[in-house]
Symmetry: C2
Subunit: 222 residues, 2 copies
DNA sequence: GAAGTCAGTGAACAGTCGTACTCTCAAAGC
DNA sequence: GCTTTGAGAGTACGACTGTTCACTGACTTC
């Protein structure tokens, strides 16, 4: 009945106490399998061409079972957005909390993005691809998440002494600029592949340096 | 035989001299009709989900006729890229050639982009959507065109007195930065719609101002 | 331990898809 | 004026799509 489930997982589930519920755990597992399969299939196509049956076939489940978890492929896309970007919200602080030298922090930011992209390329590819993709609901979900990131960045930057005298709107502009360049860098890394990675990293660093320079002189004159 | 062709065009074609060839003109007209129909259909979906039959149906042509013009939807996408961005190469100069006050030039640049996007939204939407889309050939075609734009911008900027002492690599970085933000602004304008246009324009101006500020202080210290 | 819930099955539905044929007939070339 | 060319028509093919329905049977609940 659960063809993608091996005995190991079955034992693991049996080990759980009665509080969780075997049934619910199974359902979540199938749901996750659908998400994983979809993410893999989306490596070479975009969401608007992803077939419902295509996903269920990859998981080993009947097409009908899909509807137990999502209304359609668009809903699956929204879920993928939350899975990908929802877990990244803490990372912003980790990058920017480092109050060391500006140049060093800049390099470390780019390195951290590079590492995340190379570790889970499919997730970032999905975001880059569907950010301007054909499914409106997914675009909206990504935009909402990225707006949240921009706000976080703006808050962190606003607390720094370099941002004295900045109004809220300019800080949001700067935060959005950083976030957009994160996504742009991630996409460029995916497109370049391992051999072109260093070149992308170098350019990304220079871009960030230029933006940081602009930030330092933002209030030079009225 | 050419159901989308009205008599007016027929007369127009008859008026052409024998050099052109009625037949070739008709073929080009069908080809253009396919491109236009595809562009319209791509407003609510991405290229990887665009059906060959879907396009021919919109034009009023047999699916078989499609192959007389393109190998498949991917080739049509590449043609769309060249149609959209190929005609824009002169615009770069028109934007940046204005050697007036920096602030004024900046505003005029954003206004020019805004005007172009509102005048032909489908073209820009297509580029923004397929820049990171699911069809590799189209991604490559867009990337090549944008690289060309970045090079043009870099050349124009390099000729200005503000760029004294800049090496070629930094100029390319700056050119790419400008181009990427053009695309980003275009996409934001499309997403915001007419009511949100002014807000997008304001943020885009600030971003450009910050980048220009960073440019002015790029060589301040080694 | 009996009754109920519900994740997943299997069959069937009416469409759509890309592509391969042959055929037509107006324009092009001599 | 004849032949050649080629853009598009028409038909057919097998494969795939999203969605529906009644169903099974392992888990849950009382």
């Amino acid at each position: 009945m659960y063809p993608f489930l091996d005995s190991e997982n079955g034992c693991l589930l049996n080990g759980m106490s009665h509080t969780t519920g075997i049934r619910q755990a199974q359902k979540l597992k199938t749901r996750q399998a659908l998400l994983d399969a979809a993410l893999e299939l989306l490596e070479h196509q975009s969401l608007s061409s992803l077939g419902l049956r295509e996903v269920t076939r990859a998981v080993g489940v009947t097409p009908t079972a899909f509807y137990r978890h999502f209304d359609g492929t668009a809903a699956l896309g929204v879920a993928l957005v939350e899975e990908t970007l929802g877990s990244l919200h803490g990372m912003i602080g980790a990058i920017l909390a480092d109050t060391g030298d500006s140049e060093e922090r800049l390099d470390r930011s780019v390195d951290l993005i590079t590492r995340h992209v190379t570790e889970q390329p499919a997730h970032f590819r999905f975001i880059a691809r569907e950010q301007h993709g054909g499914v409106g609901q997914v675009r909206a979900a990504i935009a909402a998440q990225l707006r949240g990131f921009a706000l976080e960045v703006a808050q962190v930057l606003g607390a720094e002494p370099e941002s004295a005298g900045w109004d809220r709107e300019d800080l949001l502009m700067l935060g959005g600029l950083y976030v957009d360049h994160m996504v742009l860098t991630a996409s460029a890394l995916l497109e370049a592949g391992p051999e072109g990675e260093q070149e992308v990293v170098r350019v990304a660093r220079r871009r960030l340096r230029l933006v940081t320079l602009g930030r330092a002189h933002w209030l030079d004159r009225p």
